[in-house]
């Protein structure tokens, strides 16, 4: 049975957020999975399609090299923190990154290093030095603007999923006051159909 504190009302629709932390975790793991769990199928599909399309498009634009986990001098891949917002799709990079870390001695990749899975989401060979020829500069040379745009696409997809995680946990964000002004007619009709306020954790003031 639905707990009343997990039931909110938005756009005249009652939503049972169910187990909020679980929904948020599922939303992170696979975009839209949290909403699927809550029975919000339309939004689940929309999130899955929009976010994963953006993420995969970016991944393809960058030749599959834009998502990798690395925190080495000259190659601190901070972008990965945002790319990891899409959950399980970015997790192979962590495994590859750890594999590379074990095979890196004093900032240089060991001779015997072989990336797993054909190099899928593998970090570049080390050292990576700015303004020098290395594997990262080779990727830039090969994919050109696509490498840069691919990085942005995957980061934006990860950031969008953070909004989705919030939506799964608390329901839709409040519409800002600065949004479109209502006409007098709309105000009158809205007053007639106004529903009593519900305990909506997702609705914030302002």
């Amino acid at each position: 049975m639905a707990s009343s504190e997990n039931v909110i009302q938005i756009d005249s629709q009652k939503i049972d957020l169910k187990n909020r932390p679980l929904a948020a975790f599922l939303a992170w793991l696979i975009p839209g999975a949290g909403h699927f769990y809550q029975g919000r199928m339309t939004k689940a599909s929309l999130y899955l399609v929009c976010i994963m399309t953006t993420w995969m498009l970016g991944f393809a634009l960058g030749g599959g090299h834009v998502v990798y986990a690395s925190w080495q001098p000259g190659d601190k891949r901070w972008h990965y923190f945002l790319q990891a917002g899409v959950g399980v799709a970015a997790l192979p990079a962590l495994i590859q990154g750890n594999h590379m870390r074990k095979m890196t001695v004093k900032g240089i990749t060991s001779q015997g290093y072989e990336p797993m899975w054909g190099g899928f989401m593998a970090p570049p060979q080390r050292p990576v030095i700015e303004d020098r020829t290395d594997e990262v500069s080779a990727w830039y040379a090969t994919y050109g603007a696509g490498y840069e745009m691919g990085t942005w696409y995957t980061m934006i997809a990860g950031l969008l999923n953070i909004l989705v995680i919030y939506d799964a946990y608390s329901g839709p964000l409040a519409v800002p006051i600065s949004g479109r002004k209502k006409t007098d007619d709309e105000d009158d009709s809205a007053d007639e159909t106004k529903t009593p306020p519900q305990p909506a954790a997702g609705e914030m003031n302002g």
């Binding site: 629709q13 339309t42 939004k43 929009c50 696409y153 934006i156 969008l160 989705v164 839709p172 519409v175």
Partner: protein
Amino acid sequence: MISISPTYLMYYVPLIISISLVFGATRHEDTQTILRHAYYTARWITGFMAIIFLILVLINWMV
């Protein structure tokens, strides 16, 4: 006037669709309202970028 290939502007299309729809969906539950909000968001972002573009073109013309 534009030093990059105009085809680069195509990168903008999937992004604006995705951002607008997700942004609208995180603020509403009703599908029609989501689509309307997404349309306003896309229009606002496009307009804002167009204004910035015009300002940059103007600066480029003046310098």
